[in-house]
């Protein structure tokens, strides 16, 4: 047993995997078939790894084996190279954040007390706990002054979810397990929470195991996706790009479903694109200036920006002709819609674009100042580029192996 442990310890040295599962199995009492059968997997540090698969495939069971909410019947679990299969499970769990779909906030204590649960178990001093609670509430976008002393029943579903995430992060664990964390939330709020969470993850760089049955969510959230079949057998474990471009087998292809190309649009963001420029003018400009600008440009309209560079109106020659010359530009033309920020996915951008007047989406920075535009050709090129890049990488791998 001893020599065994040393051996595996040596093997993880130098590797960057945060969690390693080795021949993990679970057979529930009274059942013949294992729910999880001989699963081995390495989860790299600082990445979001998604377990996705049809219901009943054992993905939630697999996740719960990691913090031993369900005790494995075979195999071993390593965290930071340390065999944690037999350590005190409560101590193990305090190192791992845990978020479930139903959230499970404690209804009888305040939001602050909910978040303070693990720090109190770890006997932090009062001031440190209070500071941490305020910091976390701010991190998840809730005003501490307003929400600290509220009770869970006084919050909306989305707010409870945020508190759930804050509570899981309270003792700053390196690893978080999330079981369909956005599953019970309406689609609009879910989308917002997903984006917020991705932005948060860019800062905190946790190692996250995320379970979902929704392949679109998997593609959006995952750095790596494990597509699981019956008994948690790994059908494919790879980046979203690779899974979409090169599904390992029919099972994976079926699971991704049709529209893999469309799904790929969720993989890139506007900031990855080269923006095009559009003729713009300040709103203080005269109608003559705008006319000259239109003559010089091959576009049929100019974009009017306010004094902080924020898009206001589209104005074309026809608008100018119909308006009296002293009318401010702000009052003529059409409102500048289809505005996206650099972190919008291409899928969102395309969606905006389809409803826009000039078949392009206006890109603004976080202060809503104009950056450039994205049109349909840019998106087309991006998709083609992605496909070529993946195919190139594949070809390279095949020739090198």
């Amino acid at each position: 047993m001893m020599s065994n442990g040393q051996q595996s310890g040596a093997r993880t040295n130098g590797s960057e995997s945060k969690i390693r599962l080795e021949n993990l199995s679970k057979t529930f009492p009274g059942q013949h078939e294992p729910a999880v059968d001989d699963l081995s997997m390495e989860i790299p540090e600082g990445e979001i790894v998604i377990f996705v698969g049809p219901s009943g495939c054992g993905k939630t069971t697999t996740m719960k084996l990691i913090n031993r909410i369900i005790e494995p019947t075979g195999g071993r679990i390593f965290l930071d190279g340390e065999d944690v299969t037999k350590v005190n499970p409560d101590h193990l769990r305090r190192r791992i954040g845990y978020v479930i779909q139903q959230i499970g906030l404690f209804p009888h204590v305040t939001i602050a007390d909910n978040i303070a649960t693990v720090p109190r178990l770890l006997s932090w001093d009062k001031k440190r706990i209070n500071d941490r609670v305020d910091e976390l509430l701010t991190t998840v976008g809730m005003d501490p002054g307003q929400y600290r002393n509220r009770y869970p029943k006084e919050l909306s579903g989305g707010q409870r979810q945020r508190v759930g995430v804050a509570r899981a992060m309270s003792a700053d664990p390196d690893v978080m397990l999330m079981d369909e964390p956005f599953g019970a939330i309406d689609p609009i709020t879910r989308d917002r929470l997903q984006n917020e969470f991705l932005r948060l993850q860019e800062q905190i760089k946790k190692t996250i195991v995320f379970v979902t049955h929704d392949i679109d969510e998997a593609i959006k959230m995952g750095d790596r996706i494990a597509i699981l079949g019956d008994q948690s057998r790994i059908a494919q474990f790879d980046t979203p790009e690779r899974i979409l471009v090169d599904p390992a087998n029919d099972y994976v292809a079926d699971f991704i479903g049709r529209g893999a190309s469309l799904k790929r649009l969720s993989l890139s963001r506007v900031r990855d694109l080269e923006l095009h420029q559009w003729p713009t003018t300040a709103e203080s400009a005269s109608h003559d200036d705008v006319n000259r600008l239109l003559d010089a440009s091959d576009q049929s309209a100019v974009l009017v920006l306010d004094d902080q560079q924020r898009p206001v109106q589209w104005v074309n020659a026809e608008h100018l002709r119909r308006a009296t010359p002293d009318r401010p530009l702000r009052e003529i033309g059409l409102p500048a819609d289809a505005v996206v920020q650099p972190n919008a996915t291409l899928s969102d951008t395309l969606n905006e674009m389809l409803t826009a007047r000039y078949s392009c989406a206006i890109v603004v920075d976080s202060d809503r100042a104009y950056q450039g535009i994205v049109d349909i050709d840019t998106i087309n090129e991006a998709v083609r580029g992605m496909r070529l890049a993946e195919q190139g990488r594949l070809r390279e791998e095949i020739s090198s192996s």
């Binding site: 101590h91 769990r93 845990y98 499970g104 404690f106 178990l121």
Partner: protein, 224 residues
């Protein structure tokens, strides 16, 4: 005061003369009920906590405590006279009252604990709260409103049964009633019985008000 006077005039005169005795009996009554409820709560909650997660022991505990409640109290007190160490007096009464008080408390403890949202318990487990901490910090506080209702029901039952305790020389308002029943020919017989009975009703109301206060104070705002 003539004999034709109505019963309440007699009662009034009786209370004017003997109020100190009635009050003393009422206090004894309260004391014996409080002691019994306290013991029944400790034993009942412990039994509930020990058995709520496993079906066989749970069914067994509920069946046994349920059976206690079906034994006629007069018969049980009679049996206890013969039991060495119990015999006549308050001790037998307390033992009997604890037995009668168990079922509502055990039952509500089990129901309350089983009704706690499993997601809440799982998230507590996932955060690293051990079995004991989960029970003390999460499950029992959440089950408390239901357990408290059990204690309240148990108290009301015991206030009534405690009166029968006077049959084996137990303390309390039962003494008034039994004194009246033993001397039906005496002038004060009816007043004795009525004073005892009314006293018990008043006590029941006071206890109920007390429990309203307790639930106000002890049930956390988040689950009220």
């Amino acid at each position: 005061m003539s004999r034709e006077n109505s019963w309440w005039v007699n009662l009034w005169a009786y209370l004017e003369l003997r109020w100190d005795l009635v009050l003393e009996d009422a206090i004894d009554h309260v004391v014996i009920v409080v002691i019994s409820v306290a013991l029944a709560t400790i034993i009942g909650v412990a039994l509930g906590v020990a058995t709520y997660r496993t079906q066989r022991p749970r069914d067994l505990v509920l069946a046994v405590t349920g059976t206690f409640l079906t034994i006629p109290s007069l018969a049980l007190f009679g049996i206890f006279i013969a039991v060495p160490g119990l015999g006549l007096g308050g001790r037998s009464v307390v033992v009997a009252l604890v037995m009668y008080g168990l079922l509502p408390i055990v039952r509500n403890t089990i129901v309350g604990l089983r009704e706690v949202d499993s997601a809440v318990v799982e998230s507590a487990q996932g955060m690293g709260l051990g079995r004991r901490q989960r029970l003390l910090r999460v499950e029992l506080p959440l089950a408390w409103p239901v357990i408290l209702t059990g204690i309240r029901v148990s108290t009301l039952i015991l206030i009534g049964i405690a009166a029968i305790g006077a049959y084996i020389n137990g303390p309390g308002l039962g003494e008034e009633i039994f004194a009246g029943l033993a001397n039906l020919s005496s002038v004060t017989a009816l007043s004795d019985v009525i004073a005892g009975t009314l006293g018990i009703v008043v006590l029941a109301i006071l206890f109920d008000l007390f429990y309203v206060g307790v639930s106000r104070i002890t049930i956390p705002k988040g689950i009220r």
